[in-house]
Symmetry: C2
Subunit: 390 residues, 2 copies
């Protein structure tokens, strides 16, 4: 097969707010090759990611992503790895390139799986897929009382695990403790409580460590992104002060090295990979293999549609003991409507990566129209990008 | 002062080739505040960097760079650091943001220096500036004979130091040895020979190590980027096999942590910072301080105009013992014409960071017209960017 076309669809809700809610817009990628159609999703910042695909070349090590993809052969996983290496080398100085490539790479596995009638996780080398325990991923309430109610609601909806994140966490120690107590109370004694600080402590180890007592008393499983994603010394410093809780991070990794370094130098206990940023499924699978070697738990990072969720489950589908899975709840309607297939908990409260070919998720063409944000980019008077037809 | 406007000028040569020559295009930034005008330059990929300034918000941690800059107060260095922290937090999920911010940050120091009548290096905390030994930064010849002639030409032009880089280096061991011998022969016995492999060895330590004998016999000072910029384990592995030569890297660092990690975990002997990528002058100065602490030599990475060269000299202007300085020669005419002021070696073959206020380099308004690449970006039918008037 040859890669014939790569199309980008920028979608957004009518109102996008400053909430840390990644489901307010989307950049959906459609790839065609050999009569097959595959879909992927780039995480965040649609316009710069489109620009990275179509921009004029700056020099040999700063070429647009499109130049390394269009017209390439796609006959098997080795081709995806080969194209990935070409993008990494030829777009070395184009910082946004990994985010653009991530959605394309997902779509290539989708095409390949559909062409072979195999789910992507089998193409990645797994013999079978294991169910995952989804955790509801939500923002903290504005008050501890709201967090309590949110936690009770999650439990009532059948979730045993939940992650609470972002503001107002970090605003004051007493407030944070009240939110932590509320999260545990609302989820019940056997609930799995996860906390995401959204990098609020920068690299201030003491500030983050001040929350550890309340976390450990509330049996928090992991403490996500207390610090800037690159502040390995701060992560390692906090690790030395933890008794039962461990830290988690890695969502911003835009290549596998960054995730491996967070394991080796930041000493995280959970490595969280967003396939929409790290370069798609293959580097994520490499990180999963590395995590197994190092005794660290792999977990997906997903805050967008079920297309991204399926993609994010593939790289660790076959890891039986890596059971927790981020499952975004409270998605904006755009992210719900984007797919015709949805991944939902079964009677045991577990979720399953699709068995269907590729990523196993059909994209809803009506959503591409309903939430469409038209983009037109002209360089030197010539159009280099115009929103394609759905 | 308030930051009143931030304008981007995309410039390019009529023909842009796949040569690893970063001077074929430019993204120039003009900032106005309090009646003062400052200039900066983002390194590489103009279109995605413009997009990162103007794109619609995706969510609270993925806002356009412009939202954190326009209208902000600029009364001193603390304001630049404060805005940098805001950009880093509010554009956390926008990968291209550090490259966009880098050119703005430079321009803010330029504005501040012009407002106070002080060079930027004084604002950064240095008492005095020391001369630097410029190395001519060129590409390898296509043949060893061409490399020999290029090296002789550089020596004849008064340079004692030169760096040879990129293809065909890495194509074969025998060819690489011939190029290394040619570089030494052409520069003469007292020349300073530097080699840039342009990441050609990926993470293959053995392949890179096979070149060490010829490097050490030819007294190469540093071996730049043998590997992918994040392959710390490969860097550290090569370090263990080096006797006299040391490795160099860091040009792709887009925050100070990445440079510090290359020092700590990659064990480089020279840390090379591009102010057009790392976030401008301040994070570069922090890396310079860190390098001093760790016994590593700081050096600029610059392959574009003299505006970028002045910016890149500021963060280590006051480090007397960090003497070598990348000095791009063979710049494309666009990069020559972009500035009215030029930095040139003195009778001793040394170069000096400007003493004039700010970055001390006047931009040539005619070049902004002559090399202009018009850009128009429309989102949802509305223009979000149109090339401004010079």
């Amino acid at each position: 097969m040859k890669i014939e076309s790569v199309d980008f669809f920028y979608l957004a809700m009518p109102d996008v707010t400053t909430a840390a809610d990644g489901s307010q817009d989307a950049l959906v990628v459609r790839v065609t090759a050999g009569g097959h159609v595959g879909w992927g999703e780039c995480e965040a910042a649609p316009l710069p990611s489109i620009a990275a695909f179509v921009c004029p070349m700056s020099h040999g090590a700063c070429r647009p992503v499109g130049a390394s993809v269009l017209g390439e052969t796609l006959d098997g996983p080795d081709d995806i790895r080969r194209i990935a290496a070409t993008v990494a080398y030829n777009s070395m100085d184009l910082l946004q390139a990994p985010h653009t490539w991530s959605g394309i790479e997902m779509a290539l596995w989708d095409v390949l799986g559909r062409a072979r009638g195999m789910p992507a996780w089998k193409l990645l080398g797994y013999e079978r897929a294991y169910p995952k325990v989804p955790y509801a991923s939500v923002l903290f309430g504005a008050t501890p009382q709201q967090t309590l109610e949110r936690a009770k609601g999650i439990r009532a909806n059948g979730f045993r695990a939940a992650k609470f994140g972002w503001a107002p966490f970090g605003e004051s120690l007493s407030s944070d403790i009240a939110h932590l107590d509320a999260a545990r109370e609302g989820l019940g004694p056997d609930g799995i409580v996860l906390i995401d600080a959204g990098q609020i402590f920068g690299e201030d180890v003491d500030a983050a460590a001040a929350r550890l007592d309340a976390m450990e008393r509330n049996r928090v499983t992991f403490f996500e992104e207390p610090f800037h994603g690159h502040a390995y010394a701060a992560y390692a410093g906090l690790r030395d002060r933890m008794k039962t809780v461990v830290s988690a991070g890695g969502e911003a990794a835009h290549n596998r090295y960054m995730a491996e370094h967070l394991i080796d130098f930041g000493k995280v206990g959970y490595i969280q990979i967003d396939c929409g940023r790290i370069g798609g499924l293959w580097p994520a699978k490499q990180v999963a293999d590395y995590a197994v070697q190092r005794g660290v738990t792999y977990i997906n990072h997903t805050f967008t549609s079920n297309l991204a969720l399926s993609a994010s489950m593939q790289p660790f589908a076959g890891l039986e003991k890596h059971t927790i899975c981020e499952f975004p709840t409270g998605l904006k309607q755009l992210a719900v409507d984007l797919t015709l297939d949805h991944i939902a908990p079964d009677a045991n409260g577990e979720i399953h990566v699709p068995d269907a070919p590729g990523l196993g998720i059909a994209v809803n063409p009506e959503a591409l129209v309903r939430y469409r944000v038209d983009v037109e980019i002209r360089v030197g008077g010539q159009p280099v990008f115009v929103t394609p037809k759905p």
